[in-house]
């Protein structure tokens, strides 16, 4: 293969990636616009919110508990060297609320919800159910994509709060195993350093993560072709691409939060 061919292939791949991102952005922007136009499909949004949110509760709660225990052990190992064990609850709370909780919740949901939405819509595409919706005079984009994207935007912040809370409980369990600390004292210390600007921006940024999960999975689902193999591919790509976009977007959002709330630095 000549150098010229390799350069050509690389440039083609780059152009394809930008084209894909452009099409995804148009899909997402259209979803946001349509979300504010009637009919609002409230029944379907409620159903999807239940599916995305309530059914994810066990996963998020259990993960939060485990993460809280592990983080607490690591925090203790670090702070013990400086004789600052009393700061363990506050350190854990800040780590969870500012970064670990939002990012972990989003990545877990990219796996559970992203794969589910991608596979469901992909299967509907290849079995002509999406065409059947259109033929029944129903706007399939609004009924299937917008409702799922809205459900993801609404539920990811709520599940992040659950993750943070479970993490704090996990931290308390880890601390209780080592030495006695009352629950009230633990939570008093935990929230002694947490302020409004720690909690609100980092929790609200997960709405963007929810938007990414819903949009990527819905877009790929609508584009599915190639039968059951195509559905499997969509499911995998939904998880990979949503996770990647969440991680990259998180860098930008953290930078934005530091810019808007300089006291968080």
């Amino acid at each position: 293969m000549t150098v010229a061919t390799s350069v050509q292939r690389a440039s083609d791949a780059l152009v394809d990636s930008f084209a894909w991102l452009g099409a995804l952005s148009i899909f997402g922007a259209r979803a946001l616009r349509d979300a504010f136009r009637p009919p609002f499909e409230l029944d379907e949004i409620t159903r999807q919110t239940f599916d995305v949110g309530w059914r994810s509760v066990p996963l998020i709660a259990a993960s939060g508990l485990a993460i809280g225990i592990v983080l607490s052990m690591h925090t203790r190992a670090s702070l013990e060297r400086f004789g600052a064990e009393a700061m363990i609850p506050a350190g854990l709370a800040l780590a969870l609320i500012r970064e670990t909780g939002p990012l972990t919740t989003a990545l877990l949901l990219a796996g559970r919800v992203g794969a589910g939405i991608g596979a469901e819509l992909g299967a509907m595409r290849v079995t002509e159910q999406i065409d059947a919706l259109e033929a029944t005079a129903v706007d399939s984009f609004k009924y299937l994509a917008v409702t799922r994207i809205v459900a993801c935007i609404l539920t990811v912040p709520l599940l992040t709060v659950l993750m943070n809370f479970s993490g704090m409980v996990g931290g308390y369990i880890a601390e209780s195993a080592i030495g006695y600390m009352s629950l009230q004292l633990y939570f008093d210390r935990a929230f002694s350093l947490v302020e409004f600007q720690d909690f609100i921006p980092s929790t609200l940024k997960t709405m963007v993560f929810g938007f990414i999960i819903g949009t990527v999975a819905s877009y790929l689902g609508f584009q599915t072709s190639g039968g059951t193999e195509g559905v499997g591919r969509t499911s995998t790509r939904s998880v990979v691409l949503a996770s990647l976009l969440i991680i990259v977007t998180n860098v930008l959002l953290v930078r934005l939060i530091f810019f808007l709330f300089p006291q968080n630095v």
């Binding site: 079995t127 059947a132 029944t136 005079a137």
Partner: protein, 247 residues
């Protein structure tokens, strides 16, 4: 008052990439008549049906449904026209996350203001018409191929459409079940519904169609009654009719 022409395609062309699927296709289906589209696989039969319901947009040409050019309609107006049409997909395309009864009730819930009890009653009535009243609470995955197709037909008929588009009603079905589906479509024809049926099954086309249309490479190569097609000067048409009838 119903338009004299229920469906009209004027010089419709469509290509997918470099492959031309429809080439200046022109056909007319009068209101209240039953037409069958025949042709080999890949000649654009299903794509023609999808154009009529607006699932595929033509590269060129006009598509008139009861006098309205659907290629120029807004989404809302297209939805209004679609409510007057029923579409039975080749694989029925039932929504597999809801019951058979809710599949049939779905168009009624979306497009009427009927009370829940009335929606259920009408959905049961439509299912009864296709012999599936007992399947109301079953999931689509529990049905056989023939039952799925009948359920799909019940859903297509839910809003009492004036036009029924049917894609391969006999595909994958045994002769008896195929005959049952034909009888259901005949009942629709007798009730005055305009039928446009894509089929490979010549006996079925003879039974259902007032006229048959033969497509080849995206063009109409012959149109007429089955007798006229068997005497067609086009060797391709005669050969097709003989091949399909096993003669």
């Amino acid at each position: 008052m119903a338009a004299v022409e229920a469906i009209r395609l004027d010089n419709v062309s469509k290509a997918f990439g470099a492959r031309a699927v429809l080439q200046s296709l022109t056909l007319t289906v009068p209101a209240g008549k039953a037409y069958c589209i025949l042709g080999r696989s890949g000649t654009g039969k299903s794509v023609t049906l999808k154009h009529i319901v607006g699932l595929v947009h033509p590269d060129e040409g006009r598509i008139l449904v009861e006098g309205e050019d659907i290629t120029r309609l807004s989404r809302a107006d297209l939805a209004r026209v679609r409510r007057r049409m029923g579409f039975l997909f080749q694989n029925a395309a039932l929504f597999d996350s809801i019951t058979v009864g809710e599949n049939v009730a779905f168009p009624l819930r979306r497009h009427t203001r009927l009370a829940d009890a009335e929606v259920r009653r009408r959905a049961r009535e439509k299912l009864a018409q296709v012999g599936l009243e007992a399947a109301y609470d079953q999931m689509p995955g529990e049905l056989s191929g023939g039952m799925r197709k009948r359920a799909g037909l019940a859903r297509a008929m839910a809003l009492d459409p004036s036009i029924l588009l049917v894609d391969e009603p006999s595909a994958g079905l045994d002769p008896i079940t195929s005959r049952e589906i034909d009888e259901l479509l005949l009942a629709q024809r007798r009730a005055g519904t305009t039928l446009l049926v894509v089929t490979h099954n010549i006996p079925s086309a003879r039974l259902l169609g007032d006229r048959l249309i033969v497509l080849h490479e995206g063009r109409v190569v012959a149109e007429g009654t089955s007798g006229e097609l068997e005497r067609s000067p086009e060797p391709l048409v005669r050969e097709f009719m003989r091949a399909e009838t096993g003669g």
